[in-house]
């Protein structure tokens, strides 16, 4: 994590005091609901079905052991002992009391955390690759630029009240593990032919009601201009984005209405006025931020697994886990290990206070007290020496954290859905659980291979259903919950799935997924060909027929 200095600390402390005052005035009737609502949202506080929901920022998914322990404390003290990790690398608590929230924020500030701008029509938490800083294919460490963006966006006075929420993602590796093409702004680090660092800038991607893939508006933005260029994009959006209809208010609608070329030209014109001004980055600042991410004293280790570890991971019950949940590290002799929050029978992304403490302790014992949250709703232990793999496996296994399903069908991404969220049309978690139940046989899952299944309880698409190889969207039909299925979506390269037919009842969903999988297994040319590749090759028809039968496969599809 980035370590605060006294100024960073003072800013979050002053935020706690400000929010305490606002909450008190609301409870005393001195602030109206209309006034308080936007203010509390900018602190991540929703009023939900059962109780308020508090969303806490985990900047670009980076946590320390100490911070994770504090989250466990908060779960136990103010919630019912559980937290829910989200697809935007944040954590949500579903049961806090409104009057307790200022105290929660104060507990967070004690460990250099906050809930600033985790909701509301402002710049949200910047997200990145969950292997940032340790990935073997990294061009730059994106955490430094994420932190620069975090500071630039925190209480940005001009962009606190945008037409709609605004999400930025940064990718620093060759493979895009940050889904940058489905963000309002996506930044992709690259080096030019002189070896200088810059960013490819993409705008207008997003999921939600009108899913779109971002378009490139600048091929190479030199590093030092990063923040002034963001200012220019945000200013165009703030002034001209639609405010009359919240479903048409995201930047993607503006980019589409103006065309990408005209939008880019407007940004460049605005930028020409502020370029080279005080917001231009200075080398000292980039160095300062780098230095505030603690150095990791890696040992010099052999790249090969030691014999006894090789033997350990080859055991039948460990092999699948090792193949799916262990990721190559840039440092020889180390691995990044995914802690699966997708155990059968549990809501995807949910974690108990006890589990949090186990992971916090492990991160300190074997690594450097560094933990990551992935947008796939798992945690990562980023620095595990090969020799510690058996110890980590055993500790995680005892706590149900070794489900060997990373990249497989049962590694479902899901929003909290109608059980908790007041926006949802339908429940997500029972559907996720029913599918996990249907596909609980690990050998079968293995045979199916790589498959992303994403579920959202409504159009807001928090579960990223459009970019799942299989996507499931909860819809409301005359007060009843139905589920629309899309196939062929993908996160990298970013591609949106297509609807296969009329939406289904909840009890029919697992069977439909089974039918899709059967078509895939019968038609794939080799085990190398993934589900999504077969959809690409054959199109939707065979899948439609399998789910709806010959006759119904071609009926009109109602997208709403």
């Amino acid at each position: 994590m980035y370590i605060y200095d006294e100024i960073d600390q003072q800013i979050v402390n002053e935020r706690v005091a400000q929010f305490r005052d606002q909450t008190l005035r609301f409870l005393e009737g001195k602030l109206t609901e209309e006034e308080f609502r936007p203010l509390r949202l900018q602190n991540g506080l929703y009023i939900q079905r059962h109780a308020p929901m508090l969303r806490i920022a985990i900047p670009y998914g980076v946590l320390s052991s100490k911070q994770l322990r504090q989250l466990a404390y908060i779960a136990r003290t103010y919630d019912r002992g559980t937290g829910h990790f989200t697809t935007r690398q944040n954590i949500q608590f579903n049961w806090p009391k409104l009057a307790d929230v200022p105290n929660i924020l104060s507990d967070l500030a004690d460990v250099q955390m906050h809930a600033i701008q985790t909701s509301g029509n402002c710049v949200r938490n910047t997200t990145t690759d969950h292997f940032a800083g340790v990935a073997f294919d990294e061009i730059i460490d994106p955490r430094v630029y994420c932190e620069l963006i975090r500071q630039w966006s925190t209480f940005h006075p001009e962009f606190a009240f945008l037409p709609r929420k605004f999400k930025i993602a940064v990718n620093g590796s060759r493979e895009d593990r940050a889904a940058t093409l489905v963000h309002d702004i996506g930044l992709h680090a690259l080096l030019n032919d002189r070896g200088e660092l810059g960013f490819r800038v993409m705008v207008g991607g997003g999921l939600g009601r009108t899913p779109m893939i971002g378009v490139v508006i600048r091929e190479f933005l030199p590093e030092k201009h990063l923040l002034s260029y963001l200012d220019a994009i945000l200013r165009i959006y703030n002034r001209y984005g639609r405010r009359d209809n919240k479903y048409k208010a995201r930047i993607k609608i503006l980019v589409k209405a103006m065309t990408a070329e005209k939008f880019a030209a407007a940004v460049e014109e605005e930028w020409s006025r502020i370029k080279d001004g005080p917001t231009t980055l200075i080398d000292e600042e980039v160095k300062r931020i780098k230095a505030r991410f603690p150095e990791k004293p890696y040992q010099t280790l052999a790249a090969e697994l030691p014999e006894e570890v090789k033997h350990f991971v080859n055991q039948p019950h460990v092999k699948a886990w090792y193949e799916r949940n262990v990721f190559a590290h840039k440092q020889p002799g180390y691995k990044a290990i995914t802690v699966s929050l997708k155990a059968l029978g549990h809501a995807p992304g949910d974690m108990s206070a006890e589990q949090m403490e186990v992971v916090a302790r492990l991160a300190e014992e074997v690594g450097f007290g560094d933990i990551r949250v992935s947008h796939e709703q798992n945690l990562i232990l980023p620095d595990v020496p090969n020799t510690a793999i058996p110890q980590v496996y055993e500790a995680l296994r005892q706590w149900g954290l070794v489900t060997a399903n990373i990249g497989l069908l049962s590694n479902i991404i899901s929003c909290p859905g109608g059980d908790y969220c007041s926006l949802a049309n339908a429940r997500s978690i029972p559907v996720a659980q029913a599918i996990q139940q249907q596909f609980s046989d690990l050998d079968y899952l293995y045979d199916i291979g790589e498959l992303d299944l994403n579920i959202s309880g409504c159009m807001n698409a928090c579960g990223h259903h459009h970019i799942g190889h299989i996507g499931i969207l909860g819809v409301d039909k005359h007060g009843e919950e139905f589920y629309q299925i899309t196939i062929g979506g993908s996160q990298a390269p970013a591609r949106l799935g297509k609807v296969i037919g009329p939406s289904l009842k909840q009890e029919d969903v697992p069977q439909a997924i089974e039918a899709l999988i059967t078509v895939y297994l019968e038609t794939r040319e080799s085990t190398e060909e993934r589900f999504v590749d077969v959809v690409e090759r054959l199109g939707l028809d065979p899948f439609k027929v399998a789910v709806y039968g010959q006759k119904d496969a071609h009926t009109e599809v109602n997208h709403d």
Binding site: W152, E158, R239, R243, I282, E284
Partner: protein, 166 residues
């Protein structure tokens, strides 16, 4: 006379609404909507007193910029404090068009909105009916430091070393 916050203190608001243009010469300070100015520009060009123009958050700056040198107050009226367009307008007036006169926010303005408005270049405020000027004033400086550049400050990263030395 009503009161306003101007440069962080509570003072009289001398700008008055004009009901009848024939009586214009009897005022020392007037405030009018920009539409009225554009319709009767010759009458206002002869006006000897201080002129204030009221605009909305969606004002087209091309109509306002040519008359900036003639006016001493621009009031941006917020129908809702969540309409951030006014914040961009304010920064553009200060930073791109170098407007030096009074820039005032009115409408849905209260304690919790003042800090951002001030940073965007507003130096005067009329608060909403349910708010008092004394209470609102406390909202002007809720944060001691700010990270990014705005009208009031260069970015923290250009000041940080100096600040931490003190």
């Amino acid at each position: 006379m009503t009161k306003q916050i101007l440069n962080e203190v509570i003072v009289e608001n001398p700008f008055q609404e004009v009901a009848d243009l024939n009586t214009l010469s009897s005022y020392s300070h007037v405030i009018i909507p920009i539409e009225l100015y554009l319709e009767h520009s010759s009458a206002f060009e002869q006006f000897q007193g201080e002129l204030g123009i009221r605009i909305g958050t969606d004002q087209d700056l091309a109509l306002l910029v040519p008359i900036l040198s003639k006016i001493s107050l621009i009031e941006v009226r917020y129908d809702s404090f969540t309409d951030g367009r006014g914040h961009s307008l304010a920064r553009l007036l200060r930073e791109a068009y170098h407007y030096k006169g009074i820039l005032r926010a009115s409408g849905d303005v209260f304690k919790d909105t003042l800090y951002y408005l001030k940073r965007c270049g507003f130096n005067a405020f009329l608060v909403k009916e349910s708010e008092t000027l004394d209470h609102a004033l406390q909202g002007l400086n809720v944060f001691t430091e700010s990270y990014q550049a705005a009208v009031d400050q260069i970015p923290l990263f250009r000041r940080r070393v100096e600040l931490l030395r003190i």
